[in-house]
């Protein structure tokens, strides 16, 4: 019955209930037909036979009542009573006739069809006879002659009685016919009932079989997939619960981590602020250093110019000293030569002996003059040398100064270069720090959103857990619905449940293993 199993539950139930309804309807039809077959004779009995009998009995009763009153009249009741009797008799007469007519019109049994005319005639005769008796009474009353009364009584006992017997005989026959008819109808009804009962029993048994089969198949085809779904759902719900727990835990950790990260980012941010501040200070300081270096360079250049001027002055001093030195040298040479001359003079004087004494004195004087000259020249030379030495010192000092200034200028240049490099680097560093700042800000935003997302995630996982619990609850409801109240198990994996036991409508006891009730295997059911 794969095609059956592929239908929706509604369709399956529809089909199953349609089958059951069809069976019920057919049983109802059978019952209806049977009841109809029972009802017909019953109808006949109730509608015709019984009312007919009743009408006939009424006719008879009216007759009898009429006779009661007519005979009552014979007893010479008082006038008012007699009037009553006569009214009653008239009424009864009319009623009897009416009843008989009613019977003849409505309830006439086929068996009595031949008798009804005779009956009517017999009644007419009887009514006429009794009417005659009453007339005789009237005459009695009128005349007061008792012969009329006696005649009436004799009439009643005689002719009327014969006619009465005839009527009664006919009536009895008719009643008997009616009763026979009723009995026959009842027998027919009984037979029909028996037939109907048999049919109903058979159809009930068939219906039972079909119903059980259909319900088994239906239930199985509904609960089996449901069981699978249940086990799947339960397992899924467990997994979802577990997963949502994990997600909750992970979200918690993520939230924690995000908080820590946010704190770290705060620290990093403040550190960056510090660094940024320091960088700005660096840039400012390096610019100041650059300015100072430029000022130093200017001063150094001015110093170099001054040193140049000083060098020039010193050169001029040197030149002057050189010139003076030359002059002094000349003087010195002159002194030297003079000295030599004096010595030569002394020599000649010595060789001249006494004659040269005066000459020796002159020579001596000349020598001392020359010596003085030489001394003066020497002193001057010494002074000049000192001056030259000083100038040389000045020159070397100014050279040193120039060198130092050059060094200063060089250093200042390097400082300027370094300062500008520092400034550039500081600017780049500032830009870099800005980038880092914005990156950190972004990281902060991301962390915030991470934290928010983690919060959302945590709450979502809480919801998920709740949903999983709800799902579990619904699964349990489903289990209870599918398997019954006692089968609902909490915390147990539904997948491991044994072959499901379910209550069918036909079984009064729940948890009956259908395998035992109906030895059907899946293979058998698969053929459906």
């Amino acid at each position: 019955m794969k095609w059956f199993n592929s239908l929706s539950i509604a369709t399956k139930l529809g089909i199953g209930f349609a089958i059951l309804v069809a069976m019920a309807l057919s049983m109802a039809a059978i019952g209806y037909v049977g009841m109809r077959s029972i009802m017909e004779p019953a109808d006949t009995v109730a509608g015709e036979a019984l009312p007919g009998v009743d009408t006939l009995r009424t006719f008879q009763a009216m007759q009898e009542s009429m006779f009661t009153y007519s005979q009552g009249l014979m007893l010479e009741p008082p006038a008012d009573v007699a009037a009553e009797y006569k009214d009653a008799w008239t009424q009864n007469n009319a009623d009897a006739s009416a009843s008989l007519d009613t019977y003849g019109d409505k309830y006439l049994a086929p068996e009595n069809a031949a008798l009804i005319d005779d009956m009517k005639k017999a009644w007419a005769d009887l009514a006429e006879a009794d009417g005659h008796a009453v007339a005789l009474y009237d005459k009695f009353v009128e005349t007061g002659d008792e012969k009329y009364l006696t005649e009436a009584k004799a009439w009643m006992a005689g002719e009327e009685n014969d006619r009465y017997n005839t009527s009664v005989e006919l009536l009895s026959k008719m009643i008997a016919n009616e009763q026979a008819r009723a009995a026959a109808q009842m027998e027919a009804a009984d037979a029909a009932m028996q037939q109907a009962l048999t049919l109903l029993i058979i159809s009930a048994a068939l219906a039972f079989v079909i119903a059980v089969t259909v319900s088994i198949a239906l239930t199985r085809s509904i609960t089996r997939p449901l069981e699978k779904v249940i086990s799947g759902l339960a397992a899924g719900a467990d997994q979802v619960a577990g997963a949502s727990d994990q997600v909750a835990g992970a979200s918690q950790l993520l939230a924690q981590g995000s908080s820590e990260q946010a704190a770290n980012i705060e620290e990093t941010s403040s550190s960056l602020e510090e660094i940024s501040g320091m960088t700005r200070e660096n840039a400012v300081n390096s610019r100041r250093a650059d300015e100072a270096a430029r000022a130093a360079q200017t001063s150094a250049t001015e110093g170099v110019d001054s040193v140049s001027a000083m060098s020039d002055a010193i050169d001029r001093i040197k030149q002057t000293s050189d010139s003076t030195a030359k002059i002094i040298k000349t003087i010195d040479e002159i002194a030297f030569q003079t000295n030599l001359l004096a010595l030569n003079a002394a020599v000649e004087a010595a060789r001249a002996g006494d004659a040269g004494k005066g000459f020796a004195v002159v020579a001596e004087e000349v020598r001392s003059l020359a010596q003085r000259s030489a001394e003066a020249a020497k002193n001057t030379t010494a002074l000049i040398e000192e001056s030259q030495g000083s100038a040389q010192l000045g020159v070397s000092a100014s050279e040193q100064v120039a060198g130092s200034l050059k060094l200063i200028v060089e250093n200042v240049n390097s400082v300027t270069e370094l300062a500008s490099q520092i400034a550039t680097a500081s600017e780049e560093q500032a830009a870099g720090i800005e980038q880092v700042n914005s990156a950190v800000a972004q990281m902060d935003r991301v962390t915030q959103s991470n934290a928010a997302n983690a919060e959302e995630s945590a709450s979502a996982s809480e919801e998920l857990s709740a949903q999983a619990r709800d799902l579990r609850g619904m699964v349990e409801t489903l289990i209870r619905t599918v398997r019954g109240e006692r089968a609902a198990v909490t915390g147990e994996s539904v997948a491991s449940a044994p072959a499901p036991a379910y209550a069918t409508g036909a079984n009064a006891a729940p948890r009956v293993n259908p395998e035992k009730v109906l030895p059907l295997t899946d293979a058998d059911l698969a053929e459906f």
Binding site: F336, N339, L340, L343, N344, V347, E348, A350, R351
Partner: protein, 166 residues
């Protein structure tokens, strides 16, 4: 090197001059002239002590490098360098020779008390060129024996001047 006996130094006037930071004395009577340094003409194939010849007022005079004669290392001549023209008699020939000295100082009088003989330095050490040691104003003067100096160089003078030095 010919050995000659030193004539002992005697009192008198001495011309003091310096050679290699030492002050020497020369008998003024032997001195003819003192001139400053004048251009020197070198003559090849002469001993090292002979520096060359100079032209002094038309006269060609051989010049000795006294440093070399004394065995001292030579130095570059300065403006103080003088040439002492000395006269010597040798074998009846009057020779005029120049001595290159580092500088001349003074003419001094030495009394006999200021003069002493050359001290003995030892048997094998001789100072033939010193005629004595003089003292003047706390200074030691090495009194040169000019003849010994001159005798140690064999130079033939082209011209012999008999006229007194001017």
């Amino acid at each position: 090197m010919t050995e000659t006996t030193n004539a002992p130094a005697h009192a008198g006037r001495y011309l003091t001059f310096s050679v290699a930071d030492e002050v020497y004395g020369l008998d003024i009577l032997r001195v003819q002239e003192i001139v400053g340094m004048i251009p020197l003409t070198r003559v090849p194939r002469l001993p090292d002590s002979v520096a060359g010849v100079v032209n002094l007022r038309g006269r060609i005079i051989p010049v000795l490098e006294l440093r070399r004669s004394l065995g001292l290392p030579p130095v570059v001549h300065s403006e103080r360098t003088c040439i002492i023209i000395v006269r010597s008699e040798l074998d009846g020939v009057t020779r005029v020779t120049g001595l290159i000295v580092d500088g001349v100082s003074d003419v001094v009088d030495l009394a006999p008390v200021d003069i002493e003989d050359t001290p003995e330095f030892g048997q094998s050490i001789e100072t033939p060129y010193l005629s004595g040691i003089g003292r003047h104003e706390e200074r030691i003067l090495l009194l040169l024996d000019i003849d010994t100096i001159l005798a140690n160089c064999t130079v033939d003078v082209a011209d012999i001047d008999q006229s007194p030095a001017a």
